[in-house]
Assembly symmetry: D2
């Protein structure tokens, strides 16, 4: 790609520490299927952070798999889940949840987040008639699909309504690093563990070549989880490949440092755009920036940059999504800002 | 692991060329979900080898996923498949095929291989009663689960009976490199493509960190295959990770050279064991050796080596599985043989 | 039930002609699984009405089964359907479609009906991102879930957009008798067949003890449909039980006469309520009436009648659903009207 | 059918008492979906027989549905079941269990019955490798598919091994009436309930037009079972239709009287055939007789009778299946015997 991409947080390979670790450990013989010493060491690091020695920790290749496994391992065949309308599993994962036989009910999101009221409301609506569907789980993402971040009190309120209604709580943490290092954040990884029944920590979007770490509270479900993984094709023979990456990420806080870097690049993009008078379609709380730009400015920017056109507003202006990552080059952020600045000088925003 | 493992062909990481390629390309920005230039270059290399520009080529993280996807993308909900009793999908993939809703019927294997007669026979038995199941696909592995290799005439005969009965033919090539470089082999990758409807080329067991390449003849199915992959959690955001590995494997015949090396290590093990009078439970045609050893000898060997006890025979002797790979150290093969030799000297076989 | 029920159109048993036919044919020996002469005779009657000798006609015990079978027999595992938000399969069939692995996307309904614009719009929205879901079928009900009826031009427009987009069209005819005898209707059963790919004719709600007749255009799918039925537990050993009922219903137009009777009872209820100044929540076009009544009037009516409270409006008034059938007693309709009339006299509406 | 059929136990309609009951109750209004007073009365009768007021009792249209529901309601997505090779669900229900996502492992049957040894053995074989499948349930049929009957000690031994291994026990009672009235039987319906986790009582093959009664011990599963039924299309709107039939069957022991009649007709057939020197392929313990006859005799019998050719033995003789029912005419049994007798007189057996 000749142009520089703010398209996503998976445009590059892995953080050099990970490449080094893969290289360094390459010829060591290891047990297969996630029972290697690197996976065990990554497990230990995660368990220390969440303060739970008994938690199940498992490594899947990708996020869609992490989600479908987290749902399918818990639910009985007639049970359904609630997710925000804007949730990734609703419209952008090729109906993966439904392919495991479960319905996904949607609730309106507020700033990309589920609220206790909206959960309660969908729950109640599904009790009006005799044979609707039995809801058993709630799905949230942190950061959300629009880059917003749950506060502890927000997530605790969701957890409380789940508990009241007998629902399990699943948290999709594809960008959990970004969430936990957001200026908006007031939670630790331990809080996430304490407030949910199952969650996963995204590696792919935070410095790994691939891999997500699923954390399960219930020990009996955890015992069978590798079987679920194998059954869905998500258990790598060389489980070491993901294990060594998470072991590296959780060494010396690399995971959090990378996420913080990504967030600060986004903050810089967001700040310069706001300074120049552009509105944002969503608050910049993590590594995604959603400025509202004119078609003309977008055309100019597309000469040098790749990014996603997220939506087209009624007045013809465009919502653009800019994503930063641990690998984002500060010089490209500056260049982006200066292209915008030049354009604004002559055309206004 | 202090002991040296002949346990499997996925005990080490990747061939150094692959680690180099990952390192070298790490910071290049690439499109996600398998549309990167490395995946495209790997596709081109495979299409050249099979002489089919229009073939669909897709990269999945692992073999169980490759199998369940190959089956689920083709079959309608009421259709079933036939596989050998000894097939991996029958007993060692956590009922992954059934989890997609399809029954796996079994036929007896001859030397680990399906025969036209056995396929015909299972097909016929399922027409005796009115509501048995509609068979639509046949599953073979090459090499087979016991390391044997299909000849061209054997595979052609299977393909012919499939065509006659209106069945699709799927070939699991987890160890296809090993098969195509076996002394027993008389096929090319193009033959495999010509004789099957869908097959996959194993990377995990032949030098890659992870990854299998699924090759689909039918262009309309191929067009939807990425959707199937996404739906089953098998589409990596950083598809480049598998792409660059297959691009590397199919550069300068690396794929075949690695497999040939694995086979020759197995041949050496097999040859020394036979020379010392040990019987084999299956012919050594690829990278798996199945000697029949006494419990005492096994005990001695286990001081220095890891390997799988495959079966226990009625006379108390054990079938042991020794697997070699591109990474097998010749010195360890020699050491294994000399431990056996020493033992035989004092105890006989 | 001491009170008289306008609760549903399945509160009574079967039309006496059906009970007679069951009694009369009870001891004749017949082949099982739908290959009896009664089923064949019912098939013949339906094929004559639709003018298609080659159509597949199959009898399922109930409507949810008819829907899930019609969808699962056609779709590949990654394909989805569009239905109106108010469609029965969306919220009132226990997620039966999702349990077969397929997602149900919803479009807003206009008078309970899907429009070409809304279908197109959902289709388009699912092409915006790379891995949403592949839509392959559209689901409509006639009558709709709120008792409205498709005109020929409305259904033809839906069929046309389906054809343009490569989508199949499924029509749920749980109340198709009611639809085709509605004053609003301008279609024949043949029109329904011509405009759809698959549809079903409801027996349960129009005089049968149980049973729906699924009609399939595509002969190759039809050939396998009994296998799908058996697989989903929908193929009765004594298929004769449904066969004789449909044979009876399509003798001397009984099916249409019963539906017309149901409609005229609803028209009478609707007319008397409107005369007394009550608003309707939906037009009365078939056998369902949705008056908007005060809580007090509802309390009074519930002393003598059973009916469903469909919704509660913001002003506190209630939407009530009154359903009539072939079995509705005219005297009870009169009584209902007179209770309302008495109430209005003293309280106004 | 001009010929008289011993083809199956579902060739006729229903016992006259049932037709009478349907006729008599036809115009009573009843609640839908199994909450009618007839279903409740049938529930009460069954609960009295099994001595368990808290047991869940549910009515499904057919046996395949009863089986798939009993399995799918209990198992998590990665769990499998064991059944006898000869079990109906293995080869004659169109892979209905697999369509719900669960593997069916087979064990050899002894006289059509599972033994503790064979269950243990399949269980053990599935622990040899790491990712086989998690077995969670055992499936038995009583009578078995070849008409044999479990004794109490046999079923208790199966139940004991299930308990030991943490497996649930499901009993398919399509012909449970026949089993419990067999001369071989020493169990009551209460014993069946006590020894299993879930079982069902066949109505279709014992005097009903359709319907099976599923009995569930676990109250929490029972609470959700109607949802499972609705989801699989097995919940009839007019649940009364099955309810009244079971209420009738369990009035004055009709259920057992009908089964006893069927058995005694089979005993007569069996006895006359054995007297004339014919061998049986399976013991006649219930309402199925499996004589071994020559092709010539079969040809002669087929002039007057319909029956199923079950198998062809190596010496060319045929295994024929004769099924009797509550509706079998004694005169036809006599006629069958006399045709055989005439033939034997001239040709020997």
């Amino acid at each position: 790609m000749a142009k520089y991409a703010f398209h996503d947080d998976y445009s590059e390979g892995a953080h050099p520490n990970i490449i080094d670790a893969l290289t360094r450990t390459n010829f060591t013989q290891q047990s297969g299927y996630g029972e290697d010493e690197f996976s065990n060491s990554a497990r230990k690091a995660i368990r220390t952070l969440i303060g739970a020695d008994e938690a199940g920790v498992f490594f899947t290749p990708g996020g869609t798999g992490a989600n479908l496994l987290s749902i399918a391992c818990y639910l009985r065949s007639h049970q359904s889940i609630i997710a925000a309308e804007s949730a990734h599993i609703v419209g952008k994962e090729a109906a993966a949840v439904e392919a495991t036989g479960h319905k996904v009910l949607t609730a309106p999101a507020v700033d990309g987040k589920l609220t206790p009221e909206n959960i309660q409301s969908v729950f109640d609506e599904n009790l009006l008639f005799a044979y609707q569907t039995k809801i058993k789980m709630v799905f949230v993402s942190n950061t959300t699909e629009i880059g917003t971040v749950y506060t502890k009190s927000e997530l605790a309120a969701v957890a409380a309504v789940c508990k009241k209604l007998g629902l399990l709580l699943l948290l999709d943490g594809a960008r959990l690093g970004s969430a936990l290092t957001s200026p908006k954040n007031d939670m630790t990884l331990k809080d996430i563990y304490d407030l949910t029944d199952i969650f996963w920590i995204g590696g792919t979007k935070n410095g790994a070549l691939l891999g997500e770490a699923v954390v399960i509270k219930d020990p009996s479900l955890g015992a069978d989880f590798p079987h679920h993984m194998k059954q869905r094709g998500a258990l790598l023979a060389k489980g070491r490949v993901i294990g060594i990456q998470f072991a590296t990420l959780f060494q010396n806080d690399l995971f959090f440092r990378l996420a913080r870097d990504a967030n600060s690049m986004a903050a810089e993009l967001s700040s310069c755009l706001r300074k120049m008078g552009f509105r944002l379609w969503a608050n910049t709380e993590s590594n995604q920036v959603f400025p509202i730009l004119s078609q003309q400015l977008v055309d100019v920017l597309q000469n040098d940059f790749e990014f996603f056109i997220w939506d087209c507003l009624q007045d013809g202006s465009l919502v653009v999504r800019l994503v930063t990552s641990w690998a984002t080059e500060p010089s490209q952020v500056k260049k982006f800002c200066s292209v915008v600045e030049d354009w604004v000088k002559y055309h206004g925003n």
